[in-house]
């Protein structure tokens, strides 16, 4: 019998997952002859960018425009927002899409801060209720307070697909365009010096600190809308991820449903729950990992299976506590509440994040369903409250609102007009990822 040397991994190798995240800040951005980032000024060659995007035969045109902080610009038909990031070859950003689905979250990643790539398109409804919902993004004023993009320089890719491309293929083309452009832009970093370098790693597990898992429910519904984990749609079972994987492009949003509670790719790349847990890791808690689950599971038994498995995995990891976020609405609340219930019954304390359907005047009970175990709930605001948005000087993304079956009177107006509109239609306004500071207070 022989023993092969060197096959048993050393504990230190297993424990040491570290991501060197280098941030390069973009103060201004505009078209230029060559891709470059000099003293915080980004220059992008327009023709090269268009060529890059139009590699995709599904696309017939793309019109990229800069939309800058403070402009009185209203972007409509918003699909996704992505932070530019790139990894050194042979690894790629957004594994599963731009390269093989190798595990993200280690090595080095360069990202551009102060900037986002947005996609917007008027995708004609074919299957009636299933197309992308309208989403309004204001770069100034009251509408600009509900998301971070009003403080960034955004490159909005307005695209159009060939007539015979289905809705699912059209949004897929937009998705690929966004992450391709995001990765391309971040390539400008190689000539610059980073403004900030972080080494993201979990502290060695301290046995006296309570273990915490982050249960992140990612939406998936029908043929058009879903969340992607390494290039494939999320499944109804908990997937254990190192927090770095989420920050490093493992999760890509394909959610183009109700505007207010979307979790764009940008929010996963900057996941605020992960950041908050990292800040306390090794001090107050031991951050054990992220469990990415699915919400909007259509069958009761499948919901139950996921909840039971999630609680089981959390226990196997040694969790004493869990935070649980969700995206979208309706059935998604049931998935979240069921997981909360299973966790609590397994002896794991929870805190969960929701948004509210409290009617226009805030008088209705705000949740679709509850479990008695949900004693610690954080609110991200009432999506039905009406907000007044001023007239816009410029409208990007389309000509007219797509009303669909959104029961929204404001959508009969022109997009540049002043609008009284339910917060529901404002991009990310009540995102249950907890990215924003909006909440409800009882009066």
């Amino acid at each position: 019998m022989s023993v092969e040397a060197g096959l048993v991994p050393q504990p230190s190798e297993l424990a040491r997952v570290e991501l060197e995240l280098r941030s390069f800040h973009v103060h201004t951005a505009d078209w230029g002859d060559h891709l470059a980032l000099i003293d915080g000024h980004l220059r992008v060659p327009r023709a090269a960018l268009v060529t890059l995007v139009l590699q995709d035969p599904r696309l017939v045109s793309v019109d990229p425009v800069w939309v800058r902080a403070g402009e009185h610009t209203r972007v409509i038909h918003v699909l996704d927002a992505v932070e530019p990031c790139v990894k050194p070859e042979p690894t790629t950003a957004f594994p599963g899409f731009l390269g093989p689905p190798d595990v993200a979250g280690t090595g080095r990643t360069d990202r551009l801060t102060g900037i986002a790539v947005l996609t917007a398109a008027d995708i004609p409804d074919q299957a009636d209720s299933q197309g992308p919902k309208e989403a309004i993004l204001d770069m100034w004023g009251p509408g600009g307070t509900y998301h971070p993009f009003s403080g960034l320089t955004n490159l909005v890719l307005q695209f159009a697909c060939h007539e015979r491309v289905s809705i699912a293929e059209a949004v897929a083309a937009g998705r690929l365009a966004a992450i391709r452009v995001a990765s391309y832009l971040a390539g400008a970093a190689h000539t610059a010096n980073p403004d900030h370098v972080e080494r993201l790693a979990l502290a060695p597990r301290a046995p006296d600190l309570p273990g915490v898992v982050y249960v992140c429910l990612a939406m998936r519904e029908g043929e058009v809308h879903g969340t992607y984990l390494y290039g494939k749609l999320v499944e109804s079972l908990p997937a254990l991820l190192h927090p770095n994987e989420v920050l490093d492009g493992a999760v890509v949003s394909g959610d183009y449903w109700i505007a207010c509670h979307r979790v764009p790719t940008y929010y996963y790349q900057n996941d605020p729950v992960i950041r908050a847990l990292y800040a306390r890791d090794g001090r107050e808690i031991a951050f054990l990992g992220v469990l990415v689950c699915r919400c909007l599971i259509p069958a009761q038994a499948e919901k139950h299976r996921q909840a039971a498995q999630t609680a089981k995995v959390a226990r196997m990891l040694g969790a004493a506590g869990a935070v649980v976020t969700m995206s979208n609405g309706g059935h998604a609340y049931a998935d979240q509440m069921l997981i909360c219930q299973h966790l609590e019954r397994a002896g794991i304390r929870t805190a969960i994040s929701v948004d509210e359907y409290a009617d226009r005047d805030g008088s209705d009970f705000p949740l679709v369903t509850v479990v008695p175990e949900a004693v610690a709930i954080v609110s991200n605001g009432n999506q039905e409250q009406v907000v007044d948005l001023p007239a816009a000087e410029r409208v990007i993304g389309g000509r007219d609102f797509r009303a669909g079956n959104t029961y929204e009177a404001a959508f009969s107006r022109r997009p540049d007009e002043p609008l009284s509109v339910a917060l529901r239609q404002v991009y990310c306004a009540t995102s249950q990822s907890g990215f924003g500071r909006l909440r409800c207070v009882a009066y």
Binding site: S129, P272, R349, G362, V370, A374, V375, N405, Y407, R437
Partner: protein, 339 residues
């Protein structure tokens, strides 16, 4: 500041349960607990009149009681109405709610006091300012102090802060921007729980009233059965304009016409129902069961609404109204298809 105090017949000294049928009346100055309330009032606030009504009269003859109370309120030239404390008395609580609602229609600010589990709270808390009290008169003094405090604020036109801070029962939920993100607050809340520290949920759970199910039907072959659906199945063109969410109404249609109907429910992909509405209204299967003698008969009307984000209060009302019609038609069982 002219304060009018509403009490029931008992606390107004007009009698006990047998006097619960007394119509509304008005007495000058403070009466009964009103005297203790007066001692907690400051400055120029005085109780100029006491209104009372028998608990049964107020709840069973609401319209007449309301009319009379409104007249008295106007006559007394009230600046503020204070009602109760009703503690756990349900009828008294309802009467307090009614009085405060009336006051609001007259532009008079009002505050009531009762135990949080008083049945009147569920009905009135959205529109009426309610101060929580103990379950019974052991908490009288504390309740009156709270009423005095709120009466003064209302009378002086001082805007109230959040329910938690001020100590009244939550009415509505309002969007505000916090200093911390939702993520930070959620992680902090969990850490408080794990550290055994006090924490406060941002969304208290409702008291869900358990509805005991009706007893099972011993013999289906004798019963008349109706179909009710929240699936939003309506005739082509949606003639009654049933909304796709937060429906304001319900409707009834001939059950046997359902195959030609469409679906207006906006909460899911309703293509499959539009293709064949019998997927959510199983009239074909039910007619088979009827033909086989397995059920007695089918009620010819289908009751329809859209369940998508329906406010709880309205859903309750729809249920009561539909149940009344079913009873009148001697229907004994319902197949309710929710979506």
């Amino acid at each position: 500041m002219r304060i009018v105090h509403y009490l029931n017949q008992f606390f107004a000294g007009r009698g006990g349960e047998s006097e619960a049928i007394l119509p509304p009346g008005m007495l000058p100055g403070p009466v009964g607990p009103g005297r203790l309330l007066k001692s907690h009032l400051d400055g120029d606030a005085e109780i100029v009149a006491t209104l009372y009504c028998g608990d049964n009269y107020a709840t069973e003859r609401e319209a007449e009681a309301g009319k009379k109370l409104a007249e008295f309120l106007a006559e007394a030239k009230a600046d503020v109405l204070v009602a109760g404390p009703a503690f756990s008395s349900g009828r008294y609580g309802l009467a307090c709610g009614l009085a405060c609602r009336l006051a609001a229609t007259l532009g008079i600010p009002a505050v009531a006091a009762m135990h949080p589990e008083n049945p009147a709270v569920e009905i009135y808390h959205r529109e009426v300012l309610i101060v929580p009290t103990a379950a019974d008169a052991v908490g009288m003094d504390e309740a009156l102090r709270a009423l005095a405090r709120f009466a003064a604020r209302l009378g002086n036109g001082i805007e109230l802060g959040p329910a938690d801070k001020e100590g009244y029962l939550p009415r509505t939920r309002r969007n505000v921007f916090d200093g911390d993100t939702g993520a930070e607050r959620m992680v902090a809340m969990l850490c408080d729980r794990l550290g055994g520290r006090a924490f406060q949920t941002e969304l208290p759970l409702p008291a869900i009233d358990p509805v005991p199910p009706a007893p099972p039907i011993p013999d289906l072959r004798t019963i008349k059965l109706a179909v009710v659906t929240t699936g939003g199945v309506v005739p082509p063109g949606n003639p009654d304009h049933l909304e796709s969410w937060r429906a304001s109404r319900w409707a009834k249609y001939p059950l046997d016409s359902v195959e030609s109907f469409t679906c207006v429910h906006g909460g899911f992909d309703n293509r499959f129902i539009r293709d064949d509405p019998r997927r959510v209204v199983p009239v074909d299967a039910l007619r088979e069961l009827e033909a086989e003698g397995r059920i007695g008969s089918l009620h010819p009307e289908l009751f329809v609404t859209v369940g998508n984000v329906e406010p709880v209060e309205r859903a309750r009302r729809f249920g009561r109204e539909i149940a009344a019609e079913l009873r009148a038609a001697e229907v004994q069982a319902v197949v309710l298809t929710a979506t």
